[in-house]
Symmetry: C2
Subunit: 207 residues, 2 copies
């Protein structure tokens, strides 16, 4: 079988994208990165794609309407025969049509232990600010399939980190990012190896 | 200084109570268990107290009014000069007067990683049922100071456990209980050693 065709959607620096590129280049993931899409012109992730000769596309979500924006992304991934879509620090919400077309084939990473600190309004540094303000002693990262509700779909993998009294949102973010860079490629590897099965809200991982 | 005078409130088998008794008898906690209170007549924890010659009190919460019930518990702990109150599988909610009298001196253990699966309606097996139904891959236990809202006060310690696809609420409960039996005594030890400081919503632990 040919490798799984993967698209990665980003909004920023793309450090999670880099972790995926690295694992694919090391042949640890049986997949091919066929498209990187950014909704922001200045996203550094676009540079990373260029460096590694990966086709990229910038669709400025501020310049076109929501429907047009979503239609263009969906067309782009279908045109490239994408089989798996990864949201890696992608700050837009995909519309219903996209989610239906790629049911259980869209993977997102969220920088907390869902269902803590997730859902509408919890993105980027705000997640870590909330965790620090709450005073939790453990946070972490969650990789999950995407459904119609924000940060709600079936959970594939989670991993925890200790939160220290002196942690700031920024120091917690960098701790969690270190985990994300392992967890997201691991989930993609499991997907590409055909080891994930969604049963109701739960994800079974075969050995 | 004399050891910290501790009361433990229970509703059931009191396995967490046992873990506290054991650590005190091994001198790992610098405290004295001066009172066990149960709101249920048949709570096995009452037997444990008897076996270890600890004074115990049963106030049947079903037979008397809420105000009387709460007044009697508060009077009992004050009479015994209790300095620290532990809720160990205690399924009633303490009233405002009690919480004010023992501000930052009441410790509760909750069988999830707060703020996940906590608050009103989340107690006992229901917590684990919710975690299993949600499909989380990580759960855990939280020890925290008690304030006016359920499962809301400053967090002292948290620890995580892996949730497997095949876990039932019962198997998850026993995994988490194993952690509880370490985490609660550890928090009590830190308290008795004067190492906990509440600063806003956060708990600082000195070394």
């Amino acid at each position: 079988m040919p490798p799984i065709r993967i698209a990665v959607l980003i909004s920023g620096s793309g450090s999670n994208l880099q972790s995926i590129i690295d694992k694919i280049e090391k042949k640890e993931i049986y997949g091919e990165l066929v498209l990187v899409v950014s909704n922001k012109r200045n996203a550094y992730g676009l540079e990373r794609a260029k460096k590694h000769n990966i086709e990229s596309l910038m669709i400025d979500s501020q310049l076109i309407g929501k429907d047009d924006y979503n239609r263009q992304i969906l067309e782009a991934v279908i045109e490239k025969n994408v089989e798996l879509v990864i949201l890696a620090g992608y700050l837009k919400i995909l519309d219903k049509k996209f989610i239906e077309a790629y049911r259980n084939r869209i993977i997102n990473i969220h920088p907390s232990l869902i269902p803590s600190f997730c859902g509408k309004g919890y993105y980027g540094l705000k997640v870590h600010q909330s965790a620090v303000d709450y005073g939790v002693k453990i946070s972490g990262a969650t990789v999950h399939f995407v459904d119609e509700e924000a940060d709600n779909g079936p959970i594939i993998l989670q991993e925890s980190v200790a939160v220290d009294f002196d942690d700031t949102p920024e120091t917690l973010q960098s701790k969690v990012l270190a985990i994300e860079h392992e967890l997201l490629p691991e989930a993609i590897k499991l997907y590409c190896d055909g080891k994930l099965e969604v049963i109701g809200r739960k994800v079974s991982i075969s050995k």
